[in-house]
Amino acid sequence: MSTATAPTLINIDNVSKQYGSGLIAVRDMSLKIEQGQFVSFLGPSGCGKSTALRMIAGLTSVSTGQIRFGGEDHGPQDIGFVFQEPTLMPWATVFNNVYLPLRLAGVSRKKAEPRVEDALAQVGLSKFAKSYPRELSGGMKMRVSIARALVTRSRLLLMDEPFAALDEMTRFKLNNDVLRLWQEYNLTVIFVTHSVYESVYLSNRVVVMAARPGRVVSDIEIQAPYPRAENFRNTPEYANYCAVVSDALNETLDTGDINH
């Protein structure tokens, strides 16, 4: 997967976001995200990671600047979004939760069925189609949420600290699942996290952000090859990248203190 020659999928051009309160959540953000990239937005809480992601998804407007979609006919309707919480409808079965995006697009239940079943199989939850969310563990709920993001076959997946609330074992497992899905479906993933280790393990590009005001401070390419598996975590290469990214993150924390 050579990212150097891939076409630009999202062009974030000098984007700022100021909330009604006057707070500048994101300032002068410029990024070109290429098709097929796995990009992590890494930064301390409050640095505008969620805001940036929500602007890309069209869930909140930009104050200045522009976000353009290039490459394939990617419109905002082709976005899969995974929130920090599983965000499932408690009154609906797992099947109906995953069916939701297709139902809203007017796809009949019958036509949707194979696609929903396929998405559930991808996250290993075929047996739980008839269960209700309350019957599932935290990790399983997150898998349902991922299946729902995949069911529309969207090629762009936005994830906002999806595994932050899970235990480490489950998180590692889901990390590997996301990597597998990314490769299998040729996805472009933007993954928000505050974990250095998670960002290095997953992505081929880490965008480090700082707070007050929220901005991009460094953009680090992780050149380690895929597929990556658990043993990647024990390589010196991984340790090196973690050190580099950690340093970049620490600098942002220092400037944050000075600003304060």
């Binding site: 869930l59 979004f81 919480e85 139902r103 209700y132 309350r134």
Partner: protein, 277 residues
């Protein structure tokens, strides 16, 4: 989980069955014992029936005055259910409008509050003057009492949808109707069911109180009129019999709304899901 075959052994199943049976047997037994003590005390002390009639005397009266009391009970039931129906329809419609527009809510919420806080006994005489038809007047009184909880719960319920889920619906370009059907209405359902349970009881109270205020003027009248009438004539057993029927109506409404709530929320909402310990 749910798809697997049950692994409860027969002992546990029997235990669960006994537990379910006890839920019915215990309260019924308690009531029977209480009635027995009542009967015994009244007979032992030879309390005259114009003071406190024994349960057996009340039962006798129920049978003897059955046809006339049944007619009154039907009147009360009709009044209660109709007012509950209109309260539900009105509460949902107005609640939805309020939930859609803060401006409308700010304009009209005070009226709803005024209706709620003014005792129905105080408004009833006015309504009886302005509305010629007695049944309609009573209906309005009962409606006023039952309406408010449905209104306020519908407003809160419709606004209670999870904000991330709202975003998800925005992301997938849901139409307003889809949003209402698949997100807002289900989110509001637990609030609405809780309000319906309260409103069911209030509708009956409203119906009885309004009829007390109206007096026994009309020819077709409800249980409240029977109670008043019996009180004037000092027919205490008949008062108890009518009172008993009012309670029966109330209990029936309570059971029906509880059953409905369980049927609608039982699969997913914490308030109705039974947990095993």
């Amino acid at each position: 989980m749910t798809t697997e075959t049950p692994v409860l052994n027969s002992d546990q199943q029997r235990h669960a069955r006994v537990d379910r049976a006890m839920r019915i047997v215990l309260p019924v037994l308690t009531i029977v014992v209480a009635l027995g003590i009542w009967e015994g005390l009244v007979r032992y002390y030879q309390v005259p029936k114009y003071l406190i009639p024994a349960p057996s005397v009340i039962a006798e009266t129920l049978v003897k005055d059955g046809p006339s009391l049944m007619g009154s009970m039907w009147f009360t039931i009709k009044l209660t259910l109709l007012s509950l129906f209109f309260a539900t329809v009105g509460g949902i419609i107005l609640g939805s409008i309020f939930a859609l527009s803060r401006t409308v809510e700010m304009c009209f919420f005070p009226f709803a509050v005024i209706l709620q806080v003014t005792p129905v006994v105080a408004i009833a005489p006015l309504i009886l003057i302005y509305v010629r038809d007695t049944f309609s007047a009573l209906l309005i009184c009962a409606w006023i009492v039952a309406f408010f909880p449905i209104l306020s719960s519908t407003v809160i319920g419709l606004r209670s949808a999870d904000h991330n889920l709202r975003d998800l619906f925005t992301l997938y370009r849901a139409t307003p109707l889809q949003r209402l059907r698949y997100l807002l209405a289900p989110s509001a359902l637990p609030y609405f069911m809780a309000a319906l349970k309260i409103a069911g009881g209030l509708a009956l109270i409203g119906a009885v109180v309004a009829e007390f205020v109206a007096g026994t003027a009309g020819q077709s009248t409800g249980l409240a009129s029977r109670i008043l009438e019996s009180s004037f004539r000092n027919e205490i057993p008949r008062m108890f019999a009518a009172l008993f029927l009012v309670s029966v109506v109330g209990i029936a409404i309570f059971l029906a709304t509880s059953w409905l709530s369980r049927a609608v929320l039982g699969n997913w909402h914490e308030s109705e899901v039974r947990r095993e310990n």
